[in-house]
Symmetry: C2
Subunit: 685 residues, 2 copies
């Protein structure tokens, strides 16, 4: 039963003002009422086991926690979530934890998010038959070791070796240098029992480059590291402290030859190497994981903006815009506040819809691959890479902005926001550093244009480039930079076709301009690439933003007319128009620098944005409620669903151990007072 | 003696490639060789006391630390720094800690950064004579209580009351509501003995609004809270965990009437209230503190980018741009890396030079105020507010970008970067939330134009607005939005006069356009303000960026010709041109939306930027060395001055207590294994 006070009253009123039925949107987000109900039951069971159901109690993460206690909490959560999935036959926590972090944040989560998928994609039938049942039943706890102290995104540079010993029919796994120390893999510090290890395959004197090997890391009897393996934890990180990202060194560690994952490339007993049938087949794992990341960061941004929305609804501060109101005014009323919050809500939905398309494309790829058709892999690889780069940066920036929207209170760990911001910002780096990914996207775009120039056809999903080819290339191959002004005015900017044409014009102009700059450069290729790198990244980004908007349009167009469909349509316009006019929008200058849009048109767009904001404002709480976050999953005194912010914040604060301990000592923190404060007061200085 | 390995070799080579003498620039940054030497000695003493001098040892902050241990460390650091200042008669740590955070991060730091300055500005001569010697000698530990649970930036809304009791000649300090709980003030949890408290002055039935009162919080004998005062800590925050930001509630707490700070407003024994001679006199403290913040965040951004520069110098990854080199290439070679790093270096210097002007203006204000002349207070108040908003956002974004430049390693606490990012981002919120400050700047700009329209003169530092008035207003007061194109080409964009004219055109156009929109609006003033708020903020920001560039120009122009002057001149051009062309630059669209700059000119600017980057690249290490950070003050395995990154990182990692403890148990973290991992492995699922 929610308490009744000014804050809960404001929240209740805001919630009742929505123009649509929140549950309908929740079902859309999660894929149907059945899944919504099953998810809710799963969260309830896990939160019961982890004892996080009741918000009157200070969440354990905000008590005095050191490195070891943070890991203990992760083990407790992780075990509850992993076992719930097995016991109740669901995959809700296979990829994201009950706190909506990627499952690599759980000491048991690598099994579901990396270990099992890698076996499924890279192992032989025999290997699958052996390892999958063990992993799926939790009889072993799997991890995945790729990154080294000296090598991250540049996978080809990894140094760990796996040398075939013909005599014993084994591979010898070894760390030849300090920089070859495996560094960062999740769960390897103290949790996993087995890990797939990426190492250079060495047969005789020949180096075949990185391949995957199954290695037992710890004894199943007592957890001690296997002989020759040193394991440890990386200590405190910005977030992810519930798991033990670790390091591993190998000193001549032997594994059977048959423990190389040989679903694609293979090595026979006599050392014969059989190449993978498709050079990029091993990329499929990466595509899959990036797809998972895109979906997860939609939820993480939604978490942050849910907290900001709720707090801004009940926090009253100042006398309104221009300081002229007669009473204090909820933060949400201020334009700068609801502009930032609603824009970030629109971005969370944009990422979600993009992840749906990316998922669907991946499923289709897998269907084709089982028939031996790998032709769409380059497109999929690049779509996932580009969307990963775009969505993680968007989510990280948006989560931090949502945190800043909560002022000083957003700086407290008890607000839940620092933890969300810190966990989502990790995704900008891992599974492919974003600046590297943008360049991969650029490289793929330029290859597509090369193919077009050769008169051949490109991946159908990229067909819009053909139009650009016709438009931007003259006979002499020079780029036409002539302005082709947009002719829309006023509310025409709410038309999705107009919006998409603007994004499309920009993407084509940037892609073809930089293509021409690169191909016509007289510099050596590496220098030319470096010279133009910032423009390459900008072009790749413009391409992805065009796709994101097109996905947003297609997913809202297919919905039957309904109140929530109309709201999502407004969000889509808000997303499109603020990508152009938001002061903080990256590369916004490229929408106007060629004269495609005029100052008057930008003013029209800003007027449309103001109208959209006014229409969407009453739906802000419902648009965030719809993601269906439990209070425990937000773990935020500011983001309480009932709006009871101030009482919760003070109650949690009084329960913080340093306060409880001091209260037992007449309000003094004795150690600090005696060792440092009192000596200063009494010193003769 | 630095070890010799690949990383230290790369660092040494990079350092030797500089075009100028680093020490000359260090002396410029800190104000002379004498100060540089005295600072170095002070750091050495404090780092000796705090036992942080030797980098072979894992810094204590990265060991298992819970809330209480983090506070212990802050007390130890804080005591050492505070006492060193008194013993050696310097002010190096009065405003910033030995880790370069604002001194409110020390449990003893509020005394110097807020308590003493407030007494100096707001107390009577008699009060000063009593309190200053106590505070300056450390006989009391002072704090400053303003923010409440329900009130931050909107100071007029605070609820704590100070009611005059005529009978006893006392004020009764009281917290009438939950939301009136003092919440956030530094050092009040468990460290301070006294605090200046902002409370509403109540005499009879009349509320005179917020005034300042001196209140004893804790017994000097045993540290227990004084009767009627409840004190506690706010728990873990993103950073600032070395101090005890706290809460305080007052239950009818009595202080002598004469403990109201009566340097300006006063209350006599019979309850007669005498108004402050100048309504905005109490703003002087705020101006001072913001000036301190601007200077501090220059150093914090410099810290982050120093670490990123050093790591990027020794981290080799990938086969160069376009992946075609024959060997792995240092990160710094990649355009996207040195573009981001050098741009942030230029921003750190831009903030530093702005802080110099802001300091000088403040000193002049104080000189004038002692003569009873307060006329420049509005200008100073707004300059400090605008520079605070701009510099804190710039530093916070730049520090996070520097962290991201270090990839996965930047996510480790041992990189030092998470702590720096988390501490600098706090400044975007405290001492005036940035979005509120931008609007104050806007309000001041519009008042200036009103004054111009009335045919009167404005503050001389704002005289550029007069030119805009002539240029942008027609007789009918309508804004002329006609394009007035810039006519510069190619290397003309390196000319500071050209750069400044572009910034100036933009600022004037935005300020006068929005002024006209506001004044001609038919909406009620509050609605008009809200309608145009995003444009008001953009205009205020453009005004401040114009000032920042003008300060950068003036501070580099006054230097005699020298190698470091030439490098600073390049940095200034880089700052100016990337503010326009950087993809992440806020509001960059406003430089081009009116046609002032063409696509061809933007390409020219990008060519200039590329040339500047090539020229500056060999100086990157020296430009960061010049800030003179000790290894202990960076506290970063990635930012080691000698470049010995990998060995340090592994050495620190092995010293993390969870690893040390596990090593004593055959490599097992026993609690975790026994309680959670083993039960999963053995479960019948």
């Amino acid at each position: 039963m929610a308490p009744f006070n000014r804050q809960t009253e404001l929240m209740d009123k805001a919630r009742r003002g929505a123009s649509f039925d929140t549950y309908q949107l929740t079902c859309l987000i999660h894929g149907g009422a059945d899944i919504v109900e099953r998810r809710r039951a799963a969260f309830h069971r896990v939160e019961t086991v982890a004892n996080t159901l009741h918000q009157s109690q200070l969440p354990r993460s905000y008590a005095n926690m050191d490195r070891e206690e943070a890991y203990d909490e992760g083990l407790e959560w992780g075990k509850a979530a992993f076992e719930d999935g097995i016991n109740y036959n669901h995959d809700f926590f296979d990829n994201i934890t009950p706190r909506y972090v990627l499952s690599n944040a759980s000491p048991f989560g690598l099994t579901t998010v990396m270990f099992i998928p890698t076996i499924e994609l890279q192992a032989t039938a025999e290997q699958k038959a052996y390892w999958l049942p063990l992993a799926k039943s939790g009889k072993i706890n799997g991890a995945y070791c790729q990154t080294e102290l000296g090598h991250g995104t540049f996978v080809r540079g990894i140094e760990t070796t796996a040398t075939l010993d013909f005599k014993t029919d084994e591979f010898v796994i070894h760390s030849p240098t300090l920089s070859s120390t495996k560094f960062w893999p999740g769960a390897i510090g103290f949790s996993c029992t087995h890990s797939i290890v990426l190492a250079r395959l060495i047969i005789g004197n020949k180096d075949y480059g990185p391949h995957l090997f199954m290695v037992q890391f710890r004894s199943l009897d007592d957890g001690t590291p296997m002989p020759g393996i040193e394991l440890g934890d990386l200590g405190l990180k910005m977030s992810y402290n519930g798991t033990c990202n670790g390091f591993a060194t190998f000193n001549q560690v032997r594994v059977p030859r048959t423990d190389m994952l040989m679903g694609n490339a293979a090595v026979s007993q006599d050392g014969t190497y059989t190449k993978s049938p498709h050079a990029k087949l091993s990329y499929a794992t990466l595509v899959y994981v990036r797809t998972v990341i895109i979906r997860a960061v939609a939820f993480q941004l939604a978490q942050a903006v849910t907290i900001a929305t709720r707090y801004s609804t009940v926090r009253e501060q100042g006398l309104g815009p221009n300081g002229m109101a007669s009473a204090e005014t909820a933060l949400m009323v201020y334009k700068s506040q609801h502009y930032r919050i609603l824009t970030n809500i629109s971005k969370a939905y944009a990422i979600l819809f993009s992840s749906w398309t990316c998922d669907a494309e991946y499923q289709e790829l897998r269907r084709q691959q089982t028939k031996g058709n790998h032709s769409t892999l380059p497109f999929n690889h690049n779509l996932a890479a580009g969307l990963k780069a775009w969505s993680t940066q968007t989510a990280a920036d948006g989560a931090e902005e949502s945190r800043k929207c909560c002022g000083g209170q957003g700086y407290l760990m008890t607000s839940g926001l620092p933890e969300i911001v810190a966990s989502v910002t990790a995704t900008a780096t891992f599974e492919g550093e974003n600046y590297v990914l943008w360049q991969q996207v650029g490289r793929y775009l330029f290859k597509c244009i090369d193919v077009l120039k050769a008169g051949k056809s490109i991946d159908p999903q990229m067909s819009y480039l053909s139009d650009g080819y016709d438009h931007f290339f003259c006979a002499d191959q020079a780029v036409r930079i002539t302005a082709s002004p947009c002719d829309a005015r006023r509310t025409q900017f709410l038309d999705p076709a107009v919006q998409l044409s603007i994004f499309r014009h920009r993407a084509l102009r940037l892609v073809f301009t930089i293509y021409n700059d690169l191909r016509s450069s007289t510099l050596p290729p590496a220098d030319a690439w470096n010279q133009h790198m910032m423009n390459i990244i900008a072009a790749a980004r413009a391409h992805i933003e065009y796709l994101v908007l097109s996905f947003f349009i297609s997913h809202t167009h297919t919905l039957p007319d309904s109140p929530h469909q109309r709201v999502l349509t407004r969000l889509r316009s808000l997303f499109a128009l603020t990508t152009i006019t938001n002061p903080a929008s990256i590369n916004a200058i490229t929408f106007v620098e060629d004269g495609h849009l005029s100052l008057v048109q930008l003013r029209d767009m800003k007027d449309c944005v103001n109208d959209l904001l006014a229409e969407l404002l009453p739906d802000a709480v419902a648009l965030t409620d719809a993601w269906d976050f439990t209070d425990a999953s937000l773990c935020s005194a500011l983001g309480m669903r009932d709006g009871n912010v101030y009482e919760t914040l003070m109650s949690w604060t009084r329960q913080i151990p340093i306060n409880v301990h001091a209260n037992q000592k007449k309000g003094v923190y004795e150690k600090g007072w005696k060792e440092w404060v009192e000596p200063v007061l009494r010193a003769k200085l």
